[in-house]
């Protein structure tokens, strides 16, 4: 994700990615285990382990529990994830006994399209039978969305990705009918937060609708609105996204991503 550097006005420069990572990591406060993806989610979890969630266990759908990667994994199946982990298991067991059984606290998802209820499309742009763009498909996302107790979404925000109607619903979010959602009997409670390059959102308890909670420093409501296809619900206590702290920035730059692969 390539975003320009920003200035917090107080002299400490940070990139938008660093802000997104710090904002996401704080959402993991106290969490015990997390289904990690590659890229930003991986850095987010590593930062959270060193700050707000010291007991956080990293779980990978590739079958690794309690990973202690000695380098930044470049895929969810990186060999550094297996070496030194607590348990490596078959994917059947990982999906059946951990995920479907409801043992996973938090998972990260993203997608090419999201709607106001947090439903995600990672399958196609255009028509399924003759797509304009063929995307990767579900992978584990469909069942992750159903079973992980909380879903955090990290995505760049744009009108073509924050859409009124998905071209394909790969992974279910909220239905727009909270009574229905409660009766589904899923172990997951669906998406709880969305972090973009502009803002952070939560989901309204009454309606299941994405609700603007904080805007990043320098971002205005008009920027947010211009980059989504619907008129967003806004939290009454709309605030500014807290800047990354000096400690967070040090951890990111010196320990977690010295090559600045994800934080630049």
């Amino acid at each position: 994700m390539s975003v320009p550097s920003s200035d917090d006005g107080g002299g400490t420069r940070y990139s938008k990615n660093e802000l997104m990572i710090a904002a996401s990591a704080r959402l993991l406060a106290g969490v015990e285990n997390c289904f990690v993806g590659v890229g930003l989610p991986n850095i987010v979890c590593n930062l959270a382990q060193r700050t707000v969630a010291p007991e956080l266990q990293l779980v990978y759908e590739s079958g690794v529990f309690g990973a202690r990667p000695r380098r930044l994994p470049l895929s969810i199946g990186d060999p550094t994830l297996a070496t030194g982990s607590t348990a490596v298991t078959s994917m059947f067991e990982l999906f059946a006994f951990y995920l479907q059984a409801g043992l996973i606290d938090v998972a990260f998802l993203g997608g090419a399209q999201i709607d106001r209820f947090g439903n995600l499309n990672t399958t196609v742009i255009g028509d399924y039978a003759q797509p304009k763009v063929r995307l990767p498909g579900s992978g584990g996302a469909c069942e992750i969305a159903i079973h992980a107790r909380k879903i955090l979404v990290i995505m760049r925000q744009a009108e073509r990705s924050f859409v009124e109607k998905l071209h394909f619903r790969t992974s279910p979010g909220h239905s727009g009918d909270p009574a229905h959602d409660r009766d589904r009997g899923w172990s997951g409670s669906g998406p709880t937060n969305v972090v973009t390059d502009l803002a952070t959102y939560a989901f309204d308890e009454e309606t299941g609708e994405m609700t603007l909670r904080t805007m990043h420093p320098g971002v205005g409501l008009e920027d947010v609105r211009a980059n989504m296809a619907w008129e967003p619900r806004v939290a009454p206590d709309l605030a500014e996204t807290p800047r990354p702290t000096a400690d967070e920035l040090r951890l990111l730059r010196e320990e977690l991503d010295p090559g600045r692969i994800y934080t630049k």
Partner: protein, 306 residues
């Protein structure tokens, strides 16, 4: 990560409750008799005991009066014969009836798999033209929705309130490694609400992390870790001690007579404070006689990717 290490007395007192469904699993191998004895010692009551093979350990528990029901697939003293205390309660309702719910081995295993997987049922190609489904209405036929229209049976999930498994080793968080026969311990542990892991040896987390493929039960599902060497006796722990076949044979005579059984429980369970006392009472020579020779696995290289 906070340590889950606890003494057996405390683990059983905290995690096993009257009326619970309890599974002490282990197929011949790694049957945690010490946990069964502690449950007897604490005079737990009205337990439903689940196990593929109610072994001598469940004969002892049933004989001691802790159970009101058995869920099982093979009821016997393996290689020896009957479980007399269990048979008295089933055949003669002596001293009280014992409710039973029975499956085949694969049916029991699949019940644990369904429980571990949060599945509402599990399909199995078994029970065809057998009378078992007639005496167990939980085993029901189902037709495949696909073209072949195959008939299967399904079994319901089994989710014990407590599963107790023994492992050769675990770390203080409960990450447990087992080698040799694996039985259905993993599935029974994941299926349970609470899990007690009893081990021959508590080891440093790094020992576990050196061979993560060997981990059978992860700490995430474990509530208590008890270090209790020889806790499987007269069952065995691969690489640590042999099965005490003489005891399995001796149990046949002990359990035939309620008075002898009662005397055995008084002497070997109620009369002792803990499994450590049991180990001492058998004596060092006995344990030495059960010690196998070495047969090392060899090492593999996971590679360091830094």
């Amino acid at each position: 990560m906070t340590s889950k290490v606890a003494p057996m007395r405390e683990a059983v007192a905290d995690l096993v409750r009257d009326g619970d469904t309890v599974a002490i699993e282990g197929f011949t191998h790694l049957i945690c008799f010490a946990a069964g004895h502690e449950i007897i010692r604490q005079r737990k009551r009205d337990l439903t005991l689940a196990r593929m093979t109610p072994d001598v350990v469940y004969d002892q528990m049933v004989g001691a009066g802790v159970a009101r029901k058995l869920i099982f697939s093979w009821l016997g003293n393996p290689g020896v014969g009957s479980l007399h205390a269990v048979r008295r309660r089933i055949e003669d309702r002596d001293p009280a009836p014992l409710e039973i719910e029975e499956y085949s081995h694969f049916g029991m295993v699949c019940r644990y798999v369904a429980g571990a997987s949060n599945l509402p049922f599990f399909p199995i190609r078994s029970y065809y033209e057998s009378d078992i489904p007639e005496v167990n209405p939980k085993i029901v036929p189902m037709t495949s929705p696909y073209d072949d229209g195959s008939e299967v049976y399904v079994v319901p999930p089994l989710k014990p309130d407590v599963t107790i498994v023994h492992a050769q080793r675990a770390d203080r968080e409960g990450n447990a490694q087992i080698w040799g026969l694996l039985g259905c311990q993993k599935e029974a542990a994941f299926a349970a609400d609470r899990v007690i892991v009893v081990v021959e040896e508590l080891v440093d987390g790094d020992v576990i992390r050196r061979d993560p493929n060997r981990t059978v039960i992860p700490g995430i599902v474990v509530d208590a870790v008890v270090e209790e060497p020889f806790a499987c006796h007269p069952s065995f722990a691969q690489g640590y001690y042999d099965r005490d076949n003489a005891f399995y044979l001796a149990w046949d005579a002990i359990a035939r007579d309620p008075a002898t059984l009662e005397a055995w429980l008084r002497e070997w369970v109620h009369g002792l404070d803990s499994h450590a006392d049991y180990v001492e009472k058998w004596g060092a020579e006995h344990w030495a006689s059960l010690r196998p020779g070495p047969a090392l696995s060899g090492e593999v290289d996971y590679g360091s990717y830094a």
